[in-house]
């Protein structure tokens, strides 16, 4: 932990020109798209890893407790080098710890899906499944991208995520095609979560900018493969795929639900209570 003082105040992305009017969408151009893109990847995994870690000691059965803790550790382990890479791209000397523990909600770039409270075990597993399917496809694409360090991290993460997907899809099928109660609960979770899935596949100016730097992801192709994967598991789980209605977005630009603030308060409390401590 070092250099946190400069991290606590400055937004990662300095908006240029006049500050946006209150209530207006903050769509100021992103000054460093590569750093921003790497934050999106790192923050997704950091926040989801933290959400999953909330099950530690509360799993439905000992073996599952170990499994969720294990997957949470994988995700946090994936986040650390991505955030370190984001810090390097940013060029202000911020470490992965500075970025994880000394940013405020508005500076986080994770999608909204991963920050939602963990809910019941079925909700956690449906969310995990929706993200795992996306992450497997995304990391598969990034493993062949033109940024050598990112490609290496993606290839490593892909192996872990394939296992995560096997684990979460098995649970979605088990609970969906389980008892009347388990079916009703995961269907409700799926219906609640669906409006947060659109954000995963909407490329913006940051995606366009990093595509020019060799990190090009075909989001339309990604979406159609994701649809096929999700449809297959939902069919086996006897769950009904919700209709695509209006989708909630904003996380990629720092507009989060209130849940992220609560999560960060807990996640960052130790680091902020003992600045500069090492353990």
């Amino acid at each position: 932990m070092s250099g946190h003082e400069e991290a606590s105040g400055e937004p990662v992305v300095a908006p240029k020109g006049a500050p946006p009017k209150i209530g207006a969408p903050r769509e100021a151009p992103v000054s460093n798209p590569l750093a921003d893109y790497l934050l999106r990847l790192g923050d997704d995994r950091l926040i989801l890893g933290h959400r999953l870690s909330e099950w530690t000691g509360h799993g439905p059965i000992l073996e599952e407790d170990i499994a969720t803790a294990n997957i949470a550790l994988d995700l946090i382990g994936q986040a650390a080098p991505l955030l370190a890479l984001a810090g390097t791209a940013e060029g202000q000397g911020r470490s992965e710890d500075d970025l994880a523990y000394w940013r405020d909600p508005v500076q986080f770039r994770n999608c909204l899906l991963v920050e939602l409270p963990k809910g019941d075990f079925g909700f956690t597993m449906v969310r995990q499944f929706l993200f795992d399917a996306y992450s497997v496809l995304l990391l598969d694409a990034l493993a062949g991208c033109g940024h050598a360090e990112l490609a290496a991290l993606a290839a490593k993460g892909l192996k872990e995520d394939k296992y995560h997907l096997r684990h979460s899809s098995a649970w979605v099928i088990r609970l969906g095609d389980g008892t009347e109660e388990s079916h009703a609960r995961v269907q409700r979770s799926l219906d609640e979560l669906w409006r947060f899935t659109g954000e995963l596949f909407v490329p913006d100016a940051v995606d366009a900018a990093v595509a020019a730097q060799g990190i090009a992801v075909d989001y339309a192709a990604l979406k159609s493969r994701w649809d096929a994967m999700v449809n297959e598991v939902l069919a086996e789980a006897t769950l009904t795929r919700p209709a695509d209605g209006p989708m909630r977005v904003g996380g990629r630009r720092g507009r989060h639900t209130e849940a992220l603030g609560h999560l960060l308060t807990e996640m960052q409390s130790v680091a902020r209570a003992h600045p500069g401590a090492s353990w």
């Binding site: 073996e63 599952e64 098995a170």
Partner: protein
């Protein structure tokens, strides 16, 4: 004491290719796929194994402690069952 959890499965791990699978412990799971996943998370998450077997605990037939005498003791006083009297040729010893 009755076990109110899911059925028990015995887990066997192979540390490296070519060596035998060894008993590592047991996990609870509702079916074979879940048993395999739980075994992976409990016994192979730190890279301890290259292969896993899971077997329903009920499929294991075990000798009883009361069998110990008749089963195992007679082996001790039959030296002719142990082939270490023979000098193995050098070519064989290499293995």
């Amino acid at each position: 004491m009755s076990d109110s959890q899911w059925p028990l499965w015995e887990v066997f791990t192979q540390g490296e290719k070519g060596v035998p699978h060894e008993h590592a412990g047991s996990v609870h799971a509702a079916d074979a796929e879940q048993a395999l996943q739980n075994a992976r998370d409990v016994y192979a998450r730190r890279g301890e194994a290259v292969s896993l077997w899971v077997v329903p605990s009920t499929a294991i037939v075990a000798s009883a402690p009361s069998d110990a005498g008749p089963f195992f003791d007679p082996g001790n006083d039959k030296p002719y069952r142990h082939p270490q009297f023979y000098v193995a040729p050098r070519g064989v010893r290499m293995f």
